[in-house]
C-alpha cells in the first residue's frame, strides 16, 4: 500500500506541479532582483569608493608643517584656523575630539593678537561661556535678555578678530569661531600636536565615487537610490508578484478560497 501513495515531497526549488514551477520561477526572479538591487548596489558603491579629502583638509595639510614649526605666514595661519573651524562646525564631531581642536584654534588666535588684545579676548570669551551657561536655565524675558547678551559677546569677539583671521560677520565661520576659543592662552601640547592631523583626516575624508558625486533630482545619486528608489522598487516588486500570481493561478484554473 505504501508504494501507491502519491509523492508529496517538494521544496521551493523542486515543486511538484506546473503551477508550482511557474510560482518558483516568479519568486526566484523577484527575490534575485530584490537582493541585487539592495546588496549589489551597496557592494558596487563599496568597490568604487575612494577616500577623498575635503578642500579644508588639503589646506590644513599644506600649512600644518609651517604652523607646527612656527614659520607660518599670516595667510597660512588664517587658513589653519579656517580649516579647523570646518571640523568644529560639523554636528557629527564627537565631544572628546573638540578640546584638541579648541586648543589648536585658541593657540593660533592668541598668537595672532597683541598682549592687550589677549586680555580683552579672554574676557569676551569668559563672558560668552558664562552667558551660554545661564541661557540653558533661563526662561521667558531672562532668556531673551541673555540671548541678546550672547549675540553681543559673539559680535565683540568677531569684531576683535575679523582683521586678523579674515572671517566676515556674515560668514558661517563667524557663528562658530567664538565657541572654539579657550579663555586662556597656552601652547599646544605634544599630544595635541600628534592627534590633530588624525582628527582632521578622520572628519575631512569621505568615501566618494561617481555614484555619490552624480546628482539626480537634486540628490546625490546613491542617496536617492537608497532612500527613495529602493522603496519604490519594493512596492513595484510586490505589485508585480500579486498580479502575476493571479495570472498564473488563472492559467492553471486554481481557485483560492
Amino acid at each position: 500500500m505504501e508504494t501507491n501513495k502519491k509523492n508529496y515531497n517538494f521544496s521551493l526549488f523542486k515543486p511538484i506541479s506546473p503551477y508550482g514551477k511557474q510560482n518558483r520561477n516568479l519568486i526566484i526572479s523577484l527575490v534575485a532582483i530584490w537582493f541585487i538591487a539592495i546588496f549589489g548596489f551597496q557592494i558596487l558603491l563599496l568597490s568604487l569608493q575612494k577616500p577623498t579629502p575635503e578642500k579644508s583638509l588639503l589646506k590644513f595639510e599644506s600649512v600644518w608643517n609651517n604652523v607646527k614649526n612656527g614659520t607660518a605666514s599670516e595667510i597660512e595661519k588664517q587658513d589653519f584656523v579656517k580649516s579647523i573651524i570646518s571640523v568644529e562646525g560639523k554636528s557629527s564631531l564627537k565631544k572628546d575630539k573638540k578640546p584638541v581642536l579648541d586648543n589648536a584654534i585658541s593657540w593660533m588666535v592668541y598668537t595672532m593678537i597683541s598682549d592687550s588684545e589677549k586680555v580683552v579676548l579672554s574676557s569676551y570669551v569668559a563672558d560668552l561661556k558664562d552667558t551660554k551657561e545661564k541661557l540653558t536655565k533661563a526662561n521667558d524675558q531672562d532668556f531673551l535678555n541673555l540671548q541678546a547678551n550672547l549675540t553681543m559677546a559673539k559680535s565683540n569677539i568677531n569684531t576683535l578678530l575679523d582683521n586678523k583671521i579674515g572671517i566676515e560677520s556674515t560668514d558661517v565661520e563667524a557663528g562658530i569661531l567664538p565657541y572654539c576659543i579657550n579663555t586662556e592662552y597656552r601652547d599646544m601640547s605634544e599630544e595635541d600636536i600628534a592627534t590633530l592631523p588624525q582628527i582632521m583626516s578622520l572628519y575631512l575624508t569621505h568615501n566618494r565615487s561617481f555614484l555619490t558625486d552624480t546628482k539626480f533630482l537634486g540628490f546625490p545619486f546613491h542617496y536617492f537610490y537608497t532612500a527613495v528608489f529602493l522603496l519604490i522598487l519594493f512596492v513595484i516588486l510586490c505589485l508585480i508578484y500579486s498580479f502575476r500570481i493571479q495570472q498564473i493561478q488563472k492559467k492553471y484554473s486554481i481557485i483560492e478560497e
Binding site: 501513495k5 508529496y8 517538494f10 521544496s11 521551493l12 515543486p15 511538484i16 506541479s17 503551477y19 508550482g20 519568486i27 523577484l30 527575490v31 530584490w34 546588496f39 551597496q42 558603491l45 569608493q49 575635503e54 573651524i85 570646518s86 562646525g89 560639523k90 554636528s91 557629527s92 540671548q147 550672547l150 556674515t170 560668514d171 558661517v172 565661520e173 557663528g175 562658530i176 565657541y179 578622520l202 572628519y203 569621505h206 566618494r208 555619490t212 546628482k215 533630482l217 537634486g218 540628490f219 546625490p220 546613491h222 542617496y223 537608497t226 532612500a227 527613495v228 529602493l230 522603496l231 519604490i232 519594493f234 512596492v235 516588486l237 510586490c238 508578484y241 500579486s242 483560492e256 478560497e257
Partner: protein, 558 residues
C-alpha cells in the same frame, strides 16, 4: 466602519479645530494638544466598544473579514511604532547614510513576507504564529517554545512603546511619568481587552490616518517655508541633502530675506559630506554593519509574530497578498518622508547655540526649530501616540493569543469551552498590559535597548521555522527543534555580551562579538545557521509525516 467614522468626526475633528486656538508654547499643561489627545483616546475606546469581539475568531483574527486596504492600513500602523515614527529620522540625523539601513531593512522585509509567506500563511488557516509552528512541526514543544518567544518578543517591544506613550503624555498633560504610563496603558489595554483583534484592527485604520496626516503635513510646510521644492517634498529634499554636503556658507536668502530658525539663527552651515556619504569613518560604522543591519531587519520583519498574525485576518488569500502590498505602500509613505525631518533637523540645528539635538525627538524638535505652528507640533505628538497605541494593541493581541490559544488551550486545557478561551484571552491581555506597564514605570534604559534584539531574535527563531515549514516538505520536528535551539543559543549569546557590555563589564572576545554579533544584527549569521541546522537534522532524522506533506502540497501550494 460607519460608526467608526462618525466617532472620529464627532470627537477628533472639532477638537482639532478648537485646539488650534488654544495651543500654548509655554506651561506644563498644553491645552491644544491635550484636547486632541483626549478626543483621540475617547475615539479609540468607542471604536473598541462598538467592535466588541463576540467569539475567539473575532478576538484572534478579527472574524477574518477585514478588507485588503483596511488590512493594509492596519499592517502599516501596527508596524510603525512611536520609535519608528519619531526615531527613524533620528537615526538618519545622528548617523547619516548609515541610518538608511533601517529604512531599507524595515521595508524590504515585506517583499520577502509577500512572496514567501503571506498567501501561504493565510492558506494554512491558523490563528497565530505558534499555532502554525506547532501544527506544521507536529510538536507541542515547538508550539510552547514559539509561544513563549512570541510573548517575550511582544513583551520587549511593548515596554519601549509604553515608555514612549508615557513620555508623550507627560509632555502634553504635564503629569509625572508614572501616571502617564498608567493612563496610557489603561486606555490601550481596555479597548484591546474588550475588542481583541477586531477592535484593534479598526482602531489601527484610524491610527494610520492620524499617523500619516500628522507626519506628512509638516514636511510640506517646512519645504515651503524654507524655499525648497514643496509640491512633493519626498523628492524635493534632495537639494537639502546636496546643500548639507556642500555647505551653506552665507545666510540663505529667499525673496530678499535671510532664512532663519525659530531662534533667529541663519540657515547656514559648514560642508558636511559625512551626513550623506556612505560609511563615513567619522560615524564609526562600516559597510558590513550597514548590510548586516539591513539583512537582519528584513528577516526579522518576516519573522515577527505580530506581523505574521496580520495575514490571518483577511477574508481571502488574495486579500492577504494585497493587504501586504497596501501595507508596504502605506509604510513607505511615512518612510519616504522620515529623511526630510533629519535633513531639516541638520540645517536648522547647525548653529552651535542649538547644539546636537536628542535624535529620538528630532521630528518634534525640527518642527519647533522650523517655527511651525505649535498645533502642528502637538499633532506630531498625537501621531506618535497613535503609532505607539497601534503597535501596542497588535502586540497585546499577539502575546495574549500565544498565551490563551497556544499555551492554555492547545497545551494546558484542550477541553476549554469557547467562553473560557475568550476569558483567558482577555485575562492574558490584561496580565501582559499590567506587567509591561509596571516594567515600563521602572524606566530602565537597558530594557528599552533590548527591543532591538526582538528583530534578530525573530529572524533567528521564527523566520527559519516559517520559511522551511512552508517551502520544504522535508522539514521535520527534529530539524525544527534543532534549528530553534541554534537560533535561541545565538540570541542568548549575543544578548549576554550586550548586557555585559552595557553594564561596563567585559567577556572574552568582547570586542569581536560586539562587532560581528551585535544585538542589532546577529541574525545575519544566526538565521542562516538556524536554517542550515534545520535542513541537516531533518535530513538525518525520521521524515515528515505523510499527512503533513499532503496537506502542504494540496492545501498550501495548490
Amino acid at each position: 466602519m460607519k460608526k467608526i467614522f462618525i466617532a472620529v468626526s464627532i470627537f477628533v475633528l472639532p477638537a482639532i479645530a478648537y485646539a488650534g486656538n488654544l495651543t500654548q508654547l509655554e506651561g506644563s499643561f498644553k491645552v491644544g494638544p491635550a484636547i486632541i489627545l483626549i478626543a483621540m483616546l475617547v475615539t479609540f475606546v468607542l471604536v473598541g466598544f462598538f467592535s466588541r469581539a463576540k467569539d475567539t475568531t473575532d478576538y484572534y483574527a478579527a472574524g477574518r473579514k477585514i478588507s485588503n486596504i483596511s488590512s493594509g492600513m492596519a499592517i502599516g500602523s501596527n508596524w510603525m511604532s512611536a520609535a519608528s515614527v519619531l526615531g527613524m529620522a533620528g537615526m538618519m540625523y545622528a548617523t547619516g547614510y548609515n541610518g538608511l539601513a533601517y529604512v531599507v531593512g524595515w521595508t524590504g522585509g515585506y517583499v520577502l513576507l509577500l512572496v514567501l509567506m503571506a498567501g501561504q500563511i493565510r492558506k494554512y488557516g491558523k490563528f497565530t504564529a505558534p499555532d502554525f509552528i506547532g501544527d506544521r512541526y507536529y510538536s507541542q514543544t515547538l508550539r510552547g517554545t514559539s509561544a513563549v518567544f512570541t510573548i517575550l518578543i511582544s513583551f520587549a517591544y511593548c515596554i519601549g512603546q509604553f515608555g514612549g506613550v508615557g513620555l508623550m503624555f507627560k509632555w502634553i498633560l504635564g503629569i509625572n511619568y508614572m501616571w502617564s504610563v498608567i493612563i496610557g496603558a489603561s486606555v490601550v489595554v481596555f479597548y484591546t481587552m474588550l475588542s481583541g483583534m477586531i477592535g484593534a484592527t479598526k482602531n489601527m485604520v484610524i491610527q494610520y490616518i492620524i499617523i500619516v496626516v500628522t507626519f506628512l503635513v509638516p514636511t510640506f510646510l517646512l519645504t515651503y517655508k524654507f524655499d525648497y521644492f514643496w509640491i512633493l517634498p519626498q523628492f524635493g529634499y534632495g537639494t537639502i541633502v546636496s546643500d548639507i554636503i556642500q555647505g551653506i556658507p552665507a545666510p540663505n536668502i529667499a525673496d530678499g530675506v535671510a532664512l532663519v530658525n525659530a531662534y533667529g539663527h541663519n540657515v547656514s552651515m559648514v560642508a558636511s559630506p559625512e551626513f550623506a556619504m556612505p560609511w563615513d569613518a567619522s560615524t564609526g560604522s562600516t559597510a558590513f554593519q550597514w548590510m548586516a543591519i539591513c539583512f537582519s531587519l528584513m528577516l526579522g520583519t518576516a519573522g515577527l509574530p505580530h506581523v505574521l498574525q496580520r495575514f490571518y485576518i483577511t477574508p481571502t488569500i488574495r486579500d492577504a497578498r494585497l493587504s501586504c502590498v497596501w501595507g508596504l505602500f502605506f509604510i513607505c509613505l511615512v518612510y519616504w518622508s522620515a529623511p526630510i525631518y533629519s535633513v531639516f533637523g541638520k540645517i536648522l540645528s547647525s548653529n552651535p547655540e542649538v547644539g546636537n539635538l536628542a535624535s529620538d525627538a528630532i521630528v518634534v524638535y525640527t518642527a519647533q526649530l522650523g517655527d511651525l505652528n505649535p498645533l502642528i507640533v502637538g499633532l506630531l505628538a498625537a501621531g506618535a501616540i497613535s503609532a505607539a497605541f497601534s503597535t501596542i494593541s497588535g502586540l497585546l493581541v499577539a502575546g495574549a493569543s500565544a498565551f490563551s490559544h497556544d499555551l492554555y488551550v492547545k497545551i494546558i486545557n484542550p477541553k476549554a469551552t469557547p467562553k473560557a478561551q475568550m476569558n483567558m484571552a482577555r485575562f492574558g491581555t490584561i496580565l501582559m498590559g499590567v506587567v509591561v506597564a509596571i516594567v515600563a514605570m521602572l524606566n530602565l534604559g537597558m530594557i528599552a535597548q533590548l527591543v532591538a534584539v526582538a528583530f534578530s531574535m525573530a529572524a533567528c527563531t521564527i523566520f527559519p521555522l516559517f520559511l522551511l515549514g512552508i517551502w520544504w516538505s522535508g522539514a521535520n520536528k527534529a530539524g525544527g527543534t534543532a534549528g530553534m535551539f541554534v537560533g535561541v543559543a545565538i540570541s542568548l549569546f549575543s544578548l549576554t555580551y550586550f548586557i555585559v557590555d552595557k553594564s561596563g563589564g567585559s567577556l572574552p572576545g568582547q570586542e569581536f562579538v560586539t562587532y560581528w554579533l551585535n544585538v542589532w544584527y546577529f541574525a545575519w549569521i544566526g538565521s542562516p545557521l538556524a536554517i542550515i541546522t534545520n535542513i541537516v537534522v531533518s535530513k538525518l532524522t525520521k521524515e515528515t509525516p505523510y499527512e503533513i506533506k499532503k496537506f502542504l502540497a494540496e492545501k498550501v501550494h495548490s
